[in-house]
Structures are given as structure tokens and as C-alpha cells.
């Protein structure tokens, strides 16, 4: 099966040929399969945002290429434009992109740019709004009258309404309270399960990635440090900690337990797994 996104030797340099030259990403090779939910983690400045901006053609790599469904994004002007709709990208703090006089029109901005008919646009807007929990009476309001969390969800709906094959979200929960955070993460998960589309989630929160993602991509110093299933990556919790990355609380506890000589598995990353693992170990020791 052709991967939905394939990056080949992707390199991007900021400020090329000036004294400020910095490689934002170096020689990245990854394949993302259709339907994957990939969590992307790494420090600030590790190249996460730069990487995903290559997947919808916003940035043009200095060398290497990105294949979307097997064809090069940067092939022509048309292919770049097509990539915008195929791989929908929702930036950090997306509420600052709202501009229309009603929420409806703002969500419709993307589908309209795709050149869809009125009926299709309205169907998509309603679908996306329902997904993010924006009531129909809110749709006729000005986006600037919404609350912070509602604005964020309306902005995410604006990207969802394009119904992209790949949905990419850059820190969608930044600056939200725990309730808003859980709500956003919940709706992203639901979107993934419901539509079966590929989702790329850039996040600082290891707990969120551990809970939602099927695969994890770890970037460190502009290069891929690890890429694999969640259990593969979190079983290398010690390496993650050496990169100064947070690992889920429960993983840290189990690394500590192993250090103290308890024969527990290394790849524990959810609380449920932790409970089962403890039961298993003690079941063996004291039946």
C-alpha cells in the first residue's frame, strides 16, 4: 500500500546563505500509512512545525521531497494547491485566523476556496460544526463574540470542513484549561475514528499522545530520533528522558520500579496498563 505521506531526505534551512543559517529539519525519512494517528513530539525548535508545513506544501524543502499519495507535492503550482486541501493544517492558536462576520462563513472559507457548490459547502459546514460541538444558533453569530474555547473549536472546524485526507493539528490544546483540553482531544479522537482519516497531532503533552495516538514520531535536534508504535517508543522511556522530554507519569513510575529491581515491563504508558502490570507481577510473587 502506498503511504499517504512519504518524506524522502527532507531538509529545510532557515535563512539560507546568510549568517543566521539554521537547519530546521535535517534529512528526514518517514512513511505515514493511511488511517494512522501519529503523535509528533519534541522540544520547542526541534522542527515539528516546520515538518508538518512541508506536508501541505506551505514550505518548499531545500532538498528532498514529500510524496502525498505517491506524487510529489512541489511538482507544479496545481499540485501545491491540491496539497493544501488534501492535508489540512490547523496552526497553533488557530482562533487568531478567524475573520468573517459569522461563524458559518468562517468555517465555509476553506470549502469555498476548494470551489465546491453551495449545497456541498453548507453540508460540510454543518457536519464540521456538529463535530466540534458548535450549536447551530452560534453559526450566525460573529466569531469574535464566542468564548475562547468556542473560538478554538470553530477554527478547528474551519480546517475539518475541508474534509482533508490528512488532518494535521499543531498544539491544538495550547493555552486551554483542562476541560477545554479534554474536549478538543476528545473530538479529535472521535473525528479520527469516525472518518478513518489520517491524523497528525503535534503536542507537548505525552499523556495526550500516549492516550490517542497509534504511532509516535520523536524529533530531536531537527532529526528523527524515534518513529514507531506508541509502545515501541515509550518502552524507550529512558532515552526520551535523556533527551529531556517528558514521558507519561506512569511510564516514569515504572522506570523507577525497574531501577529498584521489580520485574515489571518497560513499555507501560497508560494507567490501565500500569494496573494490569502490577497485578501480573504481584500475582507471580505472592499468589
Amino acid at each position: 500500500m502506498t503511504p499517504v505521506i512519504k518524506a524522502e531526505n527532507l531538509t529545510y534551512i532557515y535563512g539560507e546563505k546568510t549568517s543566521f543559517e539554521v537547519a530546521a529539519i535535517k534529512n528526514i525519512n518517514i512513511e505515514i500509512q493511511k488511517g494512522d494517528f501519529v503523535g509528533i513530539i519534541g522540544h520547542t525548535g526541534s522542527g515539528k512545525s516546520t515538518l508538518i508545513q512541508h506536508f501541505n506544501g506551505l514550505l518548499k524543502p531545500n532538498s528532498g521531497r514529500v510524496l502525498l499519495d505517491g506524487s510529489d507535492i512541489q511538482e507544479s503550482k496545481e499540485s501545491v494547491r491540491a496539497a493544501r486541501f488534501k492535508a489540512g493544517l490547523c496552526f497553533q492558536y488557530p482562533e487568531y485566523q478567524l475573520f468573517e462576520d459569522t461563524v458559518y462563513k468562517d468555517i465555509a472559507f476553506g470549502p469555498k476556496n476548494m470551489g465546491l457548490g453551495e449545497d456541498e459547502i453548507s453540508a460540510r459546514v454543518l457536519r464540521a460544526a456538529r463535530f466540534v460541538g458548535i450549536n447551530e444558533e452560534l453559526l450566525s453569530k460573529s466569531p469574535f463574540d464566542l468564548s475562547g474555547g468556542e473560538k478554538r473549536r470553530a477554527a478547528i472546524a474551519g480546517v475539518m470542513a475541508m474534509e482533508p485526507e490528512v488532518l494535521m493539528l499543531d498544539e491544538p490544546t495550547a493555552g486551554l484549561d483542562p476541560r477545554g483540553r479534554d474536549m478538543i482531544l476528545g473530538l479529535i479522537k472521535e473525528y479520527h475514528e469516525h472518518t478513518g482519516s489520517t491524523v497528525l497531532l503535534v503536542s507537548h503533552s505525552m499523556e495526550a499522545v500516549a492516550r490517542l495516538a497509534s504511532k509516535v514520531l520523536v524529533l530531536n535536534n531537527s532529526a528523527v530520533a524515534m518513529f514507531g508504535t506508541v509502545s515501541e517508543v515509550f518502552s524507550r522511556g529512558r532515552e526520551l528522558m535523556e533527551m529531556d522530554l517528558n514521558v507519561p507519569e506512569i511510564t516514569r513510575i515504572f522506570i523507577g520500579l525497574r531501577d529498584r529491581g521489580l520485574p515489571v515491563a518497560a513499555s507501560v504508558y497508560t494507567n490501565e496498563q500500569g494496573r494490569d502490570e502490577i497485578l501480573r507481577v504481584f500475582g507471580e510473587v505472592a499468589p
Binding site: 493544501r84 490547523c90 485566523q97 478567524l98 475573520f99 472559507f109 476556496n113 480546517v159 475541508m162
Partner: protein, 271 residues
């Protein structure tokens, strides 16, 4: 494109020009600009051009940066040259067909104007290249302080200028971000006619204004929290002092002025 704007850009350095007192530098630059318009022939303008070149070398500002500051006015230069060539009357005709005639006087005038504008921009760019925005606004504040007599709040004006300069890079970053966000939603900013392009700016300008206002409010609160209450009675951490160097600079400019007057009267005027 946005990154080509060099107005108000400061290039850190340690040249003689960098070390001059900002007040003196601003006043002298002002005089220099006026002097450029006093030039009446190529000899006096040549003197100004040599002086400008000398200052550029003294400032150790890379030549590349100087060219960059001239880039935005390139079209104005071309326009000025063409208009002067075509519409200056009198002189000996060098080339003519139909209604167009190009005279030697037209060519001279065009050259004169172009050199004048280049000197003007280069000279004033040198001020911002070698003076930090803070020093510059301090200087302007001090130089304008006589206006206090007319109840004009010079302090407030200076603070407004400082803030405006401070937020140029921030807003450029913001524009970049908003543009990317809208492009990701399929906004097409590059194709179409004038009207379509102007319309395409709406999704960028509205969020930009909203965020600019938001920043302004936040900044105002932050300033009030730190007890800012206008400029009255504020003292300075860094006192500005004139030194021998500054008087020497003033002397050089006075000399230049003398030279210009002399050359103007000694030789025939061009325009």
C-alpha cells in the same frame, strides 16, 4: 518581500558614527538633508556625494545593506529619471522622434535628481543604521522639547514612536503567521487581478488588526501595572552627554555647508 524593508533597522557596531551623540546625529542628519537641496550644480552635489560615501565607509555599514535600503525606492528613481529626461525643456537636442525629444539638459537634470535622491536616502538610512531606536526616540524627544511651550506632549509622542518601532518586527511575524494559516485553508494570495488580490487581503488584515488592538490593550495594562503615567517627572537611566567628537562632527558638517555655498556661487547653476 516584507523582509526587504530596512527602515528603522539598526546595525550594531562600534564605528565613529555609532558613538556620536544621538541628538547631534539627528540634528546633523536633518541639516544634511536640507543641504542636499541647496546644491545647484554637479560640483556641489559631487561634494555631497563624496561626503555621503565617506560617511558610509566610516559607519562600517556593509555596502550590501546600503544597496538594500535603496531597493524600495528603485521605481521612484527610474520614474524621476524618465520624467526628467522627457519633460525638461531647453538645451541641445541629442535625439528626437515624433513628439519626444531628448536634450542634454534633460539628461543632466535626470542624473542630478537621481544622485540627489540616492544621497538623501543613504544619508538618512545611515542615521537609523547607526542609532538604536531607543536612542533615536530619546534624541527626537530632546530635540522637540521646545514644543512643550505650545502644550504639545513631547514625551508621549516619543513613547509612541518607541512603541511603534518596537512592534514592527512583531507585526511582521504576525503577518507571516496569519498568511500561512489562511494559505493552509486554501486562500489564494498570488493570482488574479487587482480587485481579486485586494479582496484576498481581507482574511489577513482583519485578524492582523484584531491582534494589533489586543496587543495594544495588553501593553497598556502592562505599562499601567508598572506605574507609567505619562512622561512628566521621569528621569533617565542613561544621561546623554555631548563630547568633543560631537562638536568635531558638527564642524565637519559646517565645513560641508561652506563648501556647497562656495561651489554654488563660484560655478554656474545647473537648475
Amino acid at each position: 518581500m516584507i523582509r526587504d524593508i530596512t527602515i528603522g533597522q539598526y546595525l550594531p557596531g562600534d564605528s565613529v558614527l555609532h558613538r556620536l551623540d544621538a541628538r547631534m546625529k539627528t540634528a546633523l542628519t536633518f541639516l544634511f538633508v536640507i543641504m542636499i537641496f541647496f546644491c545647484k550644480n554637479f560640483l556641489s552635489l559631487g561634494l555631497v556625494a563624496v561626503f555621503t560615501l565617506l560617511l558610509t565607509v566610516l559607519s562600517k555599514v556593509p555596502f550590501r545593506m546600503m544597496i538594500k535600503s535603496l531597493k524600495p525606492i528603485f521605481i521612484i528613481l527610474v520614474f524621476t529619471a524618465v520624467l526628467n529626461i522627457l519633460y525638461t525643456g531647453g538645451g541641445r537636442e541629442l535625439f528626437g522622434f515624433w513628439k519626444i525629444s531628448i536634450t542634454d539638459k534633460g539628461l543632466y537634470t535626470a542624473g542630478f535628481m537621481v544622485i540627489r535622491i540616492i544621497c538623501l536616502i543613504t544619508g538618512s538610512s545611515l542615521l537609523t543604521y547607526t542609532t538604536t531606536p531607543t536612542h533615536l526616540t530619546d534624541a527626537i524627544e530632546r530635540l522637540l522639547s521646545p514644543l512643550k511651550l505650545f502644550k504639545i506632549q513631547v514625551n508621549t509622542l516619543a513613547m509612541m514612536m518607541t512603541l511603534a518601532l518596537r512592534f514592527i518586527p512583531t507585526l511582521i511575524e504576525e503577518i507571516d503567521r496569519i498568511m500561512n494559516a489562511q494559505k493552509a485553508r486554501g486562500a489564494d494570495l498570488e493570482s488574479g487581478g487587482v480587485i481579486k488580490r485586494a479582496k484576498a487581503l481581507i482574511p489577513i488584515l482583519i485578524p492582523l488588526f484584531i491582534s494589533a488592538f489586543r496587543r495594544a490593550y495588553e501593553l497598556a495594562f502592562a505599562m499601567e501595572c508598572r506605574c507609567y503615567h505619562g512622561g512628566d517627572g521621569r528621569t533617565r537611566m542613561k544621561q546623554m552627554k555631548l563630547s568633543a567628537r560631537d562638536f568635531a562632527a558638527a564642524f565637519c558638517v559646517a565645513l560641508l555647508f561652506g563648501g556647497i555655498i562656495f561651489l554654488n556661487y563660484k560655478f554656474k547653476a545647473l537648475i
